[in-house]
Amino acid sequence: MKKKSIGQFLSESREASLVIVLAVLLIVVGIINPSFLSFTNIRQIFLNNTLTFIMALGMLCVMLTAGIDISITSTLAFAGMSIGLLQKYNVLHNTFLLFVIGALIGVVCGFLNGIIIAKGHVAPIICTMGFMYIWRGMAYVISNNNWASGMDVAGFSDFGKDGAPGPYIILILAYIIFFIVMKWTRFGRRIYAVGSNTEAAQVSGINVDRTLTSVYTIMGFLAGLAGVLSVSIYASAQPNMQYGKEMDVIAACVIGGVSMSGGRGSVAGTFLGALIIGIISKALPMVNIPNFWQNLIKGVIILAVVVLNVVTQRTMDRQNLLRREM
């Protein structure tokens, strides 16, 4: 075999090029503002983006099947608001049970998405767009214009307060589990198979509908979990919580090399993508760019990355053609 050039290696290994981007980003921001690289700051990047990190895993699964889910932050709000209210009205204060209930609400929301997309053959964007407004609206409805404030969730918020190990443990566990499941189990590989060629998957006896349903259910579970975590970390629950954050999650996956057409993407890439998104959010104010630029910059990054992917692919195809002898 011929040795590959560095350029080829980078274009073939998404993870390698992401590490380089990450390094450059850290160095540049570090030079402008050295305090950025402090341990506390780095730790906070993870804490502030726990929700993005966790939901990106679900989005990875969804996008591997060539789908998308933009209802996740609405599910998050509905689940979060529900457990917030359970505490506000003193129904329940057990942290573990609250986690279970929040996650279950997420599972139900996700399952509905999944069953409609799989059995009803509805385009994922349409279905999840509908539920994006339904669950967000439901969060408003159940809240009845009330918040669950820091006082309401006092004991519960200890789990996710700055410095507590809870969110990190969940984060690490989630990534370890997904890393193993996606690479070494039949279930994980079936998700890849369905996204790579749905018809072939059907012929070789994979239950496509069940796989699709479970993928959206997993996404819902993680969104519900993120809802509970959000209440814990930010010590409050309001119906508009994490509004628009689904874009961070999608951006993380897109940057991490998850293909929009399915079948391609990895847990490692998703992690790096989420990390880059987290660093950008944290770094902008530290290099004197006001917060209201955040969304614009993220939007430009998403578009730039997907367009760049297309351009790289075209150049690679073109080079392959030039190499053909005639």
Binding site: I68, G130, G137, M260, L303, V306, Q313
Partner: protein
Amino acid sequence: MAGKSGREISAVPEGGIKSKLLSWEGALVLILIGVNILGVAISPNYNVNNVLREMPRYLAEIFMMFGMGYILVLGDIDISVGALVCLAGTVTVLSSNAGAPFIVAVIICLGVGLLGGMLNGFIATRFTELPTMIVTLGTQIIFRGIAEVLFETWGNGGGTASMADTKGLMLLAKKLGPFPIAFFCVIIVGVIMIVVLAKTTFGRKLYAIGSNKTAAYYAGIKVERIRFICYSLLGFLSGLCALFLLTATFGSNTTTGQGFEMEVIAMCVFGGIATTGGKGNLTGAFIAAFIIVCLRIALGQRNINTQVILVIIGLMLIISVLVPSISSAITARKKRA
């Protein structure tokens, strides 16, 4: 050259008035009547005058619905339009407040919409490998992102801006007889859009592209140019929507236009346009739009929260996209029995 078997192929179109009455459009008309009866039943204020008075704010979205219908028939989707309405409205308010005369502000409003649509069209047609869903997801964040930046850098901050000089807008909010100007504009734009889609070669090309893009291209249709035109058109209509929305709100904020993309897609789908492309027509969507408008007015009069209305519209969207697969499942079951 003539067929050697002499076989005749019929060229007589089937159907007539009966099949038209039994069609989905007929059902929609009944639903529209039903919604109005419901309105009268639940709200004492639900009458012709009040409905017409409250209508303009909701009519604005219908402009966009026509453009979305074209995009869906093409087999594409554009989820950036809500954000584009926000951006167009914001730029209009800020430029008017900065001293632009009303007519200039109007041109700016339509122009921003058009440019936004052209941007979508440009990316979607230059990078055809990308699903339009991701393209417009990106521009959605960008449009709203620009508006957020403008509120802070050009306006007075706080993520909101209201129009200081509302004389021009008041003019547009006037009525001609019992009907608001917006009503006439919607009817005119609607009739043009419906006829173009149903009766012209341009409309036929949209169906061809939505049904089989490759075959359309091989048949000499300039696929990418037509897609670009449709995106630009939708952008322009988003600008028009922003303008008429201003005649009701006189201002703009970061949440302006939230959910519009879902509402207009719901109108189209409810009206019988398939999200997979190539199927449906705007007549149904037009009736469906009025169903949703009347429903909103009726529920609004009962002081039902916007969020609840969005829940209802979301449910309508999901149920109506499920209709084809449910009905085919039922026929399959019947056949088996």
